[in-house]
Symmetry: C2
Subunit: 343 residues, 2 copies
Amino acid sequence: MSKFPTIALDAMGGDIGPDVVLPAAVEIRKKYPELNLILVGQEDRLQADLASLGVKPDERLTIHHASQVVDMDESASSALRGKKDSSMRVALNLVKQGDADACVSAGNTGALMATGRFVLKMLPGIDRPAIISALPSMTGHSHMLDLGANVDCTSEQLFQFAVMGSVLSSVVDNVERPRIGLLNIGEEEIKGNERVKLAAQLISASKLNYVGFVEGDDIYKGGAADVIVCDGFIGNVSLKTSEGLARMVGHFLKQEFNRNILTRLMALVSLPVLKAFKRRIDARRYNGASLLGLRGIVIKSHGGADILAFGNAIEIAIKEIHQALPERINAELEGMMSTEQPA
Amino acid sequence: MSKFPTIALDAMGGDIGPDVVLPAAVEIRKKYPELNLILVGQEDRLQADLASLGVKPDERLTIHHASQVVDMDESASSALRGKKDSSMRVALNLVKQGDADACVSAGNTGALMATGRFVLKMLPGIDRPAIISALPSMTGHSHMLDLGANVDCTSEQLFQFAVMGSVLSSVVDNVERPRIGLLNIGEEEIKGNERVKLAAQLISASKLNYVGFVEGDDIYKGGAADVIVCDGFIGNVSLKTSEGLARMVGHFLKQEFNRNILTRLMALVSLPVLKAFKRRIDARRYNGASLLGLRGIVIKSHGGADILAFGNAIEIAIKEIHQALPERINAELEGMMSTEQPA
């Protein structure tokens, strides 16, 4: 590892590709001048694109050639078998080989998970990566996992998520004993399913700071937990439901302010507030989900991320590198498994 | 059955009880003068409360005594065993006996489901009630079920939800062949779980107008489906996540407009738009979830519903009575079971 963090960027990944990744790389260097970035992708294209941005590669901003690109709708198995020289795979290889400390990709999630798992391997005791992201709340933010990597999770997996999420939260937010909540539903007659109930037992018997069940409305209310643990199916639906609702609310607000000349004048008058409000609920500030459980740092950016959003994903990678997240998760897992969860 | 619909209102149910139910009853009579309402609950209390509203009981607004009240946090089994004279149970009995055409309650969901099932019984072929509600979208609205009555649903249950939701949508919205979508997650490697995949096969082999998988962001985007089918755990989390997010967004907007004198002036100027916007996302207009699959019409109002919201739940009951919803679901189920789904 180099003295300053080195991050491999999948320059071809995402709906937009180099037109977002390259400007984001150029921007983030202004904030972190000591950062080393490796742009992975088709060399000619990347060189030309960099030139058009008026930037030349240097020792802190290098191009690493990869001839292929994983399509956004390509199956994970096709990417794994047929795209051995994809920008995604080569970026992950750089992490594997120790040439980079982390990889950031806006590419296809399924392919990134499968390839990440194949190239980097899992930490001992973890079956599959879990996707975690910060979500805003009225009182700050929380971290929620799994957001879609695992469906039909076992109670043991939910427990593993709790351990990994706890380490991430303590590392990223500098919280000593992150409060762990387990997502459940509140109907009395049918409170939760068996897996969730068993997971609650596992987590509360561990050293984790378990605060009990939380419900869907606690996610954005805040204050209930620092880490919210759930099955990947539920996490994914919850996250996408939120995206859709936020978009609808924004759409309605815009529609009402666009109704006629008078309302448009009102919008003009209120512009500073509307801008501040937009900033508050700007999803780009929360872009960047970590694939936890791998022997290396992999950050998944939203496929449609813009320059600001992709930059945010790079910043998450920087934080996790500084805190040696995978090593700390591994140490924590070992402690958990040996003391509280004997095999 | 009387010539005009008769609705039994659980006057004691909900976080607020008679102080919401009675004014809502008085209000709704102005809109539907031919409606018959039975207020079920503690007679003395209800009589006094009506009097304080300046209203006397008449032949269209009667009080039916029930000595007990189901607590909002009481377990379903305790309500079933120990509260045989609860306002909720007595209101359901009135439906059972044919003295009312529907029951509306803002009481404890678990208790309402369990008692509704015990008193009214299920339609043949349906195991448990499913909770369905309309949700707004950019293009109109859709109906989503199950919202929390059933966890760990089988594929067959998801299929039953599709049938019941289809009938409800066609009846309530006058849609000829409602489009049925199955809620799923989109990650390529792990698309859905086995139950969802099997349910997709069952629904697409039936006469239903199946449009395939939808994702969380389709709920509020609209246009994808008229009915969205999912497991009750997922539906409940998705709904509550939405409630929480909507509250957070409203909170942020208010906060930004309250920041200082200048922004408060801007709010004043924009008040008409802000009010119109608030109306657009007003959850009260969507209050009232139907418990489908029972041999009778039962509408669950949000526990914290106010007068407007509770009135909306009553209006849903009126619609379902006019359309004889349970009978039509039953007929549709029989058709489905005999032609497309031989036992």
